[in-house]
Every structure is written in structure tokens, then in C-alpha cells.
Amino acid sequence: MSDKQKIGKNDYHKLDPNSWVNNYGDYLYNYAYYRVNSKEVSEDIVQDTLIAALRAQNSFRGESTELTWLLSILKRKVIDYFRKLGSNKERTITDYTMPFRDEGIFEGHWLNNRLPREWSNEADSSLHQEEFAEILEICLSLLPDKWRSVFVLKFMEELSSDEVCKETGCTPSNFWVIMHRTRLKLRECIENKWLT
């Protein structure tokens, strides 16, 4: 019998906590980083995830891989992080003004000094990929906490609008307003950084 045959179905997907840090630490760290946008927070989240996983070993059924299981715990930690961040009222006050006229027959049209300028052809070229990624990362971190929480949970974590609102305490109409403003602000931030 070959080694492969000797391994019964029940032997698949066992937990080996001693190998977690080495096998999955970096992966989980990257996953967290691209959502929470901070190395310190990501490190904390990885640690919290693995400790929570240790305590929850009995709930592991072996139906998924070890990594999938750890990732599901990490995703929960990411949501917890954004729930706290999103409900932080003091830091969600923003002085962002909309780039549209608010009166007259051209109400709702772009303000002359806020008209979108061209940069995306250059930014989209493979030559500038890293530069663009860096700028986007900075601009994401400059968003008000609540906006960032709503945006990341919806766009990156693909939660439903209802779930996002449940976690961050937004209302359904407020939700789309935040998604809209986040786009406007991100776009404008990238533009200002790209063209200067």
C-alpha cells in the first residue's frame, strides 16, 4: 500500500496548532493588512485569531482545510475591528464637501475647480502599477473611519448592505451615501497625489 492509500478520509484536515504561525502566519497577516490597512493592527488580529482558534478547536469538523477554518475566524475578527472603528463617532466627522454645485440651474453638476482630470490611462499602465497601489493605500487610510469601515466590509469582504449596516450602525439610505462619497473622495485623493 502506498502512503497515500494509508491515509484514510478521516485523517484529512486535522489541526496542528504548533504549525499555525509558520504555515499560515504570513498569509493571514496579508489578508488582514489589505483590509485594515495597518501593520500593527494586522499583527494583533493574527494573534487574536490564532488564540481564538486554539480555544475553539473542538468546533473544527475537519470538513474544510485548516487554513479555510482559520480564515473564517480571521474574517470575523476583521469585522469586529471595523465594527469598533465604524461606531467611533468622534473620528467620523468629516469636512469633505461634495464636488457638485448646490444651487442654480446647474445644481448637481461638477464644480469647475473640482472637475475630474485625466490620470487613469497612465495609472492603469503596468509601469505604474506599484505607484498606483501605494497611492490608493494612502488614500484609503485618509478616509473617515466610518466610511472606510463601510467601504471595506462591502467591497472587500463582500458583506450585504444589511450586514454592513448592522455592524457599523448605518441606515440603508446612509449606506449608499457613504459608498458614493467614499468613491468621490478616493478618486479625488488619487488625482491630487498623482498629478502633483
Binding site: 509558520n22 504570513d26 496579508n30 461634495m98 459608498m179 458614493h180 478616493l186
Partner: protein
């Protein structure tokens, strides 16, 4: 003829979006399907507004970038925990295991 003009006028007003509303729909479009009437109105606006077309292109590029970092490739990890960080986390886990 007059009534036809009138109807056309009403239809135009109905279909007409301003840039605020158009960019609202463009932002929505990146995460959810628009309703049929919304995409008709949006297309209608984009035909005549080069700035919103530019917004649409740039907004799509932003989405593209976020989508590309959404899925983590285990064989191409951009960031690594330092050895010190790993040791530190391992210590925490060890002490947690010892409590048990």
C-alpha cells in the same frame, strides 16, 4: 406636434440625471447591479458628459485595484511577519496551550 414635443420634453426630464446622481449610480454599480431604469438613465447621462465618463473610468480602475488585492496569493505574499513577530505570537499561543 405640440403634444409630441411635450411628451419628449417630459421623457427627457425623466431620463436626465445630474452629475451628482450619475456618480451615485456609478458608485453603486461597482458593488450591486443597477435596476434597469437606473442603467438607462446612467447611459443616457454618460453619452453627453465627458467628466462623468472620466469618473466612470477612474472608478473602475479603483475597483480593479481593490479586486486584485482582495484575494491573497499564498505563493506571492507581499508582506511577511518578522521572525520576532512570529516568536512573539508563538509565545502567546504556547502560554495559552499551557493554561489548558
Amino acid at each position: 406636434m405640440k403634444t409630441l414635443n411635450n411628451m419628449m420634453g417630459k421623457l427627457m426630464t425623466f431620463l436626465m440625471l445630474n452629475c451628482d446622481k450619475a456618480t451615485f449610480l456609478l458608485s453603486k454599480k461597482e458593488v450591486e447591479d443597477l435596476r434597469w431604469i437606473e442603467s438607462v438613465k446612467l447611459r443616457f447621462h454618460l453619452m453627453s458628459c465627458s467628466y462623468c465618463r472620466r469618473f466612470a473610468q477612474q472608478s473602475a480602475l479603483i475597483s480593479k485595484q481593490f479586486n486584485s488585492i482582495k484575494v491573497i496569493d499564498p505563493y506571492n505574499l507581499k508582506l511577511k511577519l518578522t521572525d520576532d513577530q512570529k516568536v512573539c505570537i508563538q509565545h502567546k499561543l504556547d502560554s495559552e496551550m499551557n493554561i489548558k
